[in-house]
């Protein structure tokens, strides 16, 4: 039985896939990050949202 945390993450990723603001590649990276750690850091997310087609902001 999935935990509430897992349910939220799954629904979050599903909802995000409906958004035109986030491309599927980033959603998969988010999925991998959220599966790999229970305590993701803001830097992890910044990297996902800015890398490749998002530029290289610092």
């Amino acid at each position: 039985m999935p935990t509430i945390q897992q349910q939220i993450v799954e629904k979050f990723l599903a909802k995000l896939s409906e958004s035109e603001k986030v491309d599927p590649g980033k959603i998969e990276k988010l999925r991998a990050t959220l599966a790999a750690t229970k305590k993701p850091k803001a830097d992890d997310f910044v990297k996902i949202f800015t890398e490749s087609d998002g530029g290289n902001l610092k």
Partner: protein
Amino acid sequence: MIKLEKAHIEEMRGIRKLDIDFDKKTFAISGPNGSGKSGVIDSIEFGLTGQIGRLTGRGTGGLTIAEHGPHVDKTRFPDASFVELHVFLTGLGKSVKITRKINAAKRPVIEPADDDVLAVLAEVADHPEIALSRREILRFILVEPTKRSEEIQAILKLEEIGLIRNALNTTQNNLQRAQRTAEVTVETSGGSLKTHLQIAAFTAADVLEAVNQRRKLLGLTEIAELTADTNLAVGLSASATATAFNKQSALRDLKALSDAAEGFSDIGKATAMAIVTDLEKLERDPGLLDALQRRAFIEKGLELVDGPDCPLCDTPWADEQHLSDHLRAKLEKSEEARKLQDGLLENGAVLMREIIRVDGLVTPIQKMSESEAETAFAQLLDGWKTDLSDLRSKLASVDGLTGLKARLEGDWLNVPAGLGASLTAFTAKVEAKPDQTATMEAQTFLSTGQARHHDYRVAQTKQRDAKKAADAAKAAYSAYCEVMDGELNALYEAVQDNFSKFYRAINSDDESSFTAKLTPSEGKLDFGVNFYDRGLFPPGAFHSEGHQDGMGVCLYLALMKRLFGDSFEFAMLDDVVMSVDTDHRREFCNLLKTEFPNTQFVITTHDRLWAEQMKSARLITAKTSLAFHSWSIDTGPLVESNEDIWDDIADQLGKGKVESAALSLRRHLEYVSRVLADELGATPPFHSDGNYELGELLQSVLARLRYLYGKAAESANSWGNNQLRDEIVARRDAFSRAAAASNVEQWAVNRAVHYNEWARFGKRDFEPVVAAFKDLLDCFRCAKCGWLHVTPKGLQPESLRCGCNDLNFNLTVKGR
């Protein structure tokens, strides 16, 4: 998920060695305070999860599993402290043995170590909330709404959800800040380009008109369409492209800087002063400054937590959760510091953007002065740019900002002295230059225009990327919050409905229309409970302590039901209904039986009556319950119904521990007297508090058995069964002799004398006492199965018998 089959506990907490057969059934452990009940709960929790809740969390600083998990005499030998659990995994249909030692808390030995078994046990280990203590109940019933939210989130392990939300929020803020910075860069580079092209707005028509006018003059093909890749200087020779100085453009750049310089003293003044005000607040309150500095430090530490050792100071903790809770509690204390930090960083970002604008004006002049060999002016501007760059990096952090107060109070841009004069002189020098030929002017116009167009396009690309990243982060944060709110609201709704239903079930007599409302809001969870249809109030407002205890357990059960669904198969309730009264406890038993028929509860209580109620309500049986009568540091918990009691007493006497032996004997007599009073229907003097002295209880039991034997003999005689009558009479005579012998020795187990007298007793003094009581109690037993009892229970039973029917004496006298 799991059910507990049996447990072997050795040298854990207050336990020396203990075996319990749980048989996958709901099980109760009773005993007075300090008899070792919670040690069993701790040990099972440790065996299943590697954690001991009582040694972690708030108010447990300085406690660790490694140091305080073992029996106090074994703290230096943690290898000797272990738990061996036999667990049935219901989903897999497998029985598994888990052996977990204190010195290898994270490395249990699991047999069989199949992948599916390990997966289930890993899930169990991730749920320390299977153990509930009264302290935890109070934590989420009688707390502030802000704390309740945290406590309930903690029990449901929802902190992770909050951590993800926080990380996404920080991401969103960082990327929005980056986007605003990128926008300023576009604005600055665009302004520089427009100044050069002398156009009011960056439209393709205006750009192409300015550019094509020069291209036409140079005989170059006109550009028909302006795109991101358009090279305004295409067709110019390399040497022409290399010549960057365009007199008119240079004069316009100089004028732009001169004009702007007039307002430099006012730029960002209000923002700088807002930062100064915050910094003064920090100066006045060293504690706030301390909290702020620690905050950044602790935030970093929290990010780096990866195991039980502190990443900041290497201090070992009981486990990662304990350490994280400790750091999080420190962060909570600095909420005011957090607000201050946010304000400082936001204002710092505003000034950073002003610096980008100023730098955009200074950079072309600095390059120009360098190429025109105006070394002193070039160095002046270069030094200023370096200073502004350094300032920009300091504005990005609280640490950097704290050292800027003096600068921000005055001319924070630190405009170089003599800038105005130098600008004037340099402008004059440029003006004095001979006008460029039309061709040269057109060439440099195009080459400079292309360089600035390129910079502008690069800035635009970065700004678009930054916007895309910021939009994505914002969408992610919004989506997460929306999903999280929806799920948590659904969770709280389901929890509040079940909570109300469970509470009504326990209190059907006086609160049959009870309702409750859990209302989540930003960082809070309000909890309102109905009080006799007078409205919703906080749980502690009008309800009694007993009702609050009931609420705590009901809320826990509702949370567990929501959290685990049908997999809620195991939970340990450690003395959690101590304030609930007798009638409501009976209903509580019914609630557990009806609403949680597939859940194995391990329930501890210090209240003997409650333990017996659980039996009479058939929540547990004699086989699925255990009573501790006392505890000593040498023996650990002493079990009342221990079949080996006489061997244990003999062991204690063998070691010369007469006091322990006498205490064990007295506790055993107390226990057996209560059991027999119930089983035989004895009538001791009534006590409303349920507390009976051994003397009066034992006497009433002796009198009752004497009466029952007499009644059985009379019955056998009335039915003409002389052989049976003689057998009964023989038993009665043996019983009378044993009673008389024990009566002689009763002083020895008298509560009033034991502490003083036993100290002077030797082994041989006490052995006859033990023998007399053993003989006496044997008269109440079947040699094959256990204690005698009457059926039906009550004042007029029909038979005196044992469980295996080996002994069965009719009590009904044949009618005449």
